[in-house]
């Protein structure tokens, strides 16, 4: 700055001097030139300073803004709590004719019935799951259901599964849904319809779950191939009575699946459940003792354009059921009758999401029972010359992954006298984000 100050003083002194005359014009000219030089110098310095300021500003802007402060992690004693989720489920039903759940030619278990008319709370479910340690995963599901004014709490599932067994093996122990049949393993709140198709209802009481052991082997191939077997207590329908000192049933299953292409994937399964029911009671009083073999073959095909199910997707599934029961049947209020017959079932369904959040679906299912003969006339196994079937239509809306509203219309021909049903249902899940099986 001193470089500027001194010439300024000189300049001031010069300006104060009066003009002496024409002979001094040369000196004035000289002073003018000095002034010009000074002005030039001054301007250059200002420009240089301005440039430096600009540069500094630009450099400051180029540096990233400091990341926003992270909220402090709180120490919590419950940090190791398992993932908890609650499923809420309620419905309104209206029937044209209440058949009480009877199905011609079959002795259906309690859960096969379509339930009661009007408003009702379905099963509310509380699920807890977590890794037990580095080797085990644990899962617990309790259900709360209202039956005749009494609230009953049930342990639906309570199992441990290994995570680190060698040789591609997985062992599960406890109470669990048997892996026979695609739907059997899955909870009803993940279904595409408000109720299960006829064969699941009459052959499995919606789903066979029991206490036991399950071993699976996953083949080390790029195609998914899984082979497994179960040993079960045999206390629940379609078994009952816990025969053979509490090992009353066993099963074998084979699952295979793969991607057909980027948009299509499939999963197929074939399963065999072999059971020895002892005084199996359907709840209505019909008893059965003998052997029961059930074979299920099913296929699920899922479509999502480019594997992105957000906007459009479709799920097709179908299954074939074959059951052979041999033993003695005691219809309610009658004597034991010898029974050795086959029964068959099928279902096929499709659900299509035509826009985000909205789906429509259609399902058909049917049954066929061999005629057990004249002795069975008037009992539940009397097929009355009729093959039961039903057809259902549904539309559902999911605002988010966690809520769903569904309307279902069912035309039911379980008996020679047909029925029509309207079901309005909501399903909501609270809490931990449960991962979805295929």
């Amino acid at each position: 700055m001193s470089g500027i100050r001194i010439p300024l003083a000189v300049l001031a002194a010069c300006l104060c001097l009066p003009a002496w005359g024409a002979d001094q014009s040369a000196e004035i000219e000289q002073l003018k030139q000095q002034l010009k030089a000074l002005q030039k110098n001054y301007q250059a310095q200002i420009t240089a300073l301005q440039k430096r300021i600009d540069q500094l500003e630009a450099r400051q802007a180029a540096q990233p803004a400091p990341p926003p402060a992270q909220p402090a992690e709180q120490q919590r004693v419950n940090a190791f709590n398992p993932a908890i989720s609650v499923i809420l489920n309620g419905r309104y039903q209206a029937f044209r004719r209440d058949t009480g759940g009877a199905i011609a030619g079959f002795s259906p278990p309690a859960e096969a019935s379509p339930g009661s008319q009007g408003f009702s709370l379905g099963e509310s479910e509380v699920n807890l799951q977590a890794n037990v340690d580095d080797r085990f995963f644990g899962n617990f599901t309790a259900t709360l259901a209202d039956e005749g004014g009494n609230t009953t709490i049930g342990v639906e599932e309570a199992w441990l599964q290994t995570l680190t067994l060698p040789y591609d093996l997985t062992l599960k122990a406890g109470r669990f849904h048997s892996a026979i049949g695609y739907m059997n393993e899955r909870h009803t709140h993940t279904d595409d319809f408000a109720d299960r198709p006829l064969p699941y209802r009459v052959f499995l009481n919606n789903a066979y779950l029991d206490d036991g052991l399950q071993l699976r082997w996953l083949a080390p191939t790029d195609t998914f191939v899984e082979f497994g077997g179960e040993l079960m207590r045999g206390a629940q329908f379609p078994v009952g009575g816990s025969a053979h000192n509490g090992v009353g049933a066993w099963s074998l299953f084979l699952h295979a699946g793969d991607d057909y292409d980027e948009s299509n994937s499939w999963l197929a399964g074939i399963s065999w459940l072999s059971a020895e029911p002892r005084n199996r009671d359907t709840g209505a009083g019909d008893l059965f003792t003998g052997s029961s073999d059930l074979v299920i073959a099913d296929l699920v095909w899922k479509w999502a354009p480019n594997g992105n199910p957000y906007r459009h997707n479709a799920v097709l599934q179908g299954g074939l059921f074959w059951r052979h029961e041999k033993g003695n049947f005691q219809p309610v209020g009658k004597t034991w009758l010898s029974y050795d017959k086959h029964q068959y079932g099928w279902y096929a369904q499709a659900a299509y999401q035509f826009m985000p959040a909205w789906r429509v679906g259609m399902r058909g299912s049917g049954l066929h029972a061999q005629n057990p003969g004249a002795l069975f006339a008037g009992t539940a196994l009397d097929r009355q010359g009729h093959d039961p079937w039903e057809v259902s239509f549904m539309v559902d809306w999911s605002h988010s992954e966690f809520s769903r509203l569904r309307l279902q219309l069912t035309h039911d021909e379980s008996l020679p006298l047909s029925d029509d049903r309207v079901i309005l249902q909501y399903i909501a899940s609270l809490g931990a984000h449960g991962a979805h099986e295929f």
């Binding site: 995963f137 995570l163 680190t164 080390p220 980027e262 480019n306 594997g307 957000y310 985000p356 295929f438």
Partner: protein, 300 residues
């Protein structure tokens, strides 16, 4: 006899060849591409999703269970991005090598500080991620810490090639730093550019380039915008003009298109991850392409 012997030799050779490579299961394409950079010919990479799939909503397909079963290392974004499907895969595949806590289980989000950690956890806020926004790959500066972690884990899983992983990491780091300097320079004009995004998946990109997010089309993360939500955003865009509506290649095109048409601004489909369009085939091209697209709409 000779034939069967030949067959046995072939089989042995094949299985030896298969065993030689470390199998990597990558949840998203960007981590698959990174695994190829660091692993080179010593790894075999399987990518679970494509750029056209929403990583929040992938189905736990049987093919994925089969592939995870054989993996030696898993690399995913983490921070609950894959919570809807990865836990099922991990449980069904029951592969001891890739369970959480093992060296073979790598969450990329654990290597970088996360942004947008919600102060309030409530499903009424939409599909929020408690640990912060998991879409870290939209900022290239986040790639290097993940690459370092990956090289370290690969060396643990497959010690015989540790030196190779280290060498490739050094090479990748050098090339990446050069690219970063180039991208920073290219991105200068984008500072302060106002944008609208469809999903809050771009917070790291905004942070890197200094973009200004004026609005988000989704009212809550993961909830599709209704027409009322779109109208509200349109109102804001009319008050505060923006340069573009940004969405990822996998997202529904209708909300962004609607907004673009009404507001008279371009709809910009950014690749979001490797393979998001035909000119973002690797990690370097991903950011080249992202910058190119952003610069193309940044005209005064």
């Amino acid at each position: 006899m000779k034939k069967s012997l030949l067959f046995v030799v072939l089989l042995l050779g094949l299985s030896a060849g298969v065993q030689a490579a470390t199998r990597i299961f990558a949840c998203e394409p960007e981590w698959g591409a990174l695994a190829r950079e660091i692993g080179g010919e010593d790894v075999r990479v399987t990518v679970a999703t494509t750029a056209l799939q929403d990583p929040h909503h992938v189905q736990a397909r049987p093919s994925l269970i089969a592939r995870l079963r054989r993996a030696d290392l898993l690399i995913c974004s983490g921070a609950d991005l894959e919570i809807g499907w990865l836990p099922v895969l991990l449980r069904r595949a029951a592969n001891a090598r890739v369970q959480p806590g093992q060296p073979g289980y790598l969450e990329a989000a654990s290597a970088v500080p996360l942004l947008e950690r919600p102060a309030r956890l409530d499903r009424a806020q939409g599909d929020v991620h408690p640990q912060g926004n998991p879409h870290i790959q939209t900022d290239p500066r986040n790639i290097l810490p993940v690459a370092r972690l990956l090289a370290q884990r690969l060396a643990e899983v497959d010690a015989s090639h540790a030196a190779d992983y280290q060498r490739r990491l050094a090479d990748f780091t050098q090339r990446w730093q050069q690219a970063l300097a180039r991208w920073d320079k290219q991105g200068q004009p984008l500072r302060g550019m106002p944008i609208v995004v469809q999903h809050d998946g771009w917070v790291y990109l905004e942070h890197w380039l200094g973009l200004k997010r004026v609005a988000t089309l989704e009212p809550k993360p993961g909830v599709p915008p209704s027409s009322a939500d779109l109208a509200a955003v349109l109102q804001r865009v009319r008050q505060t003009p923006v340069k573009a509506v940004i969405r990822a290649a996998y997202q529904d095109d209708r909300p962004a298109r609607w907004m673009a048409q009404r507001a008279g601004i371009p709809e910009l489909v950014l690749p979001f991850t490797v393979g998001g369009d035909d000119r973002s085939g690797d990690l370097f091209k991903l950011y080249d392409r992202t910058l190119e697209l952003l610069l193309s709409v940044n005209r005064p």
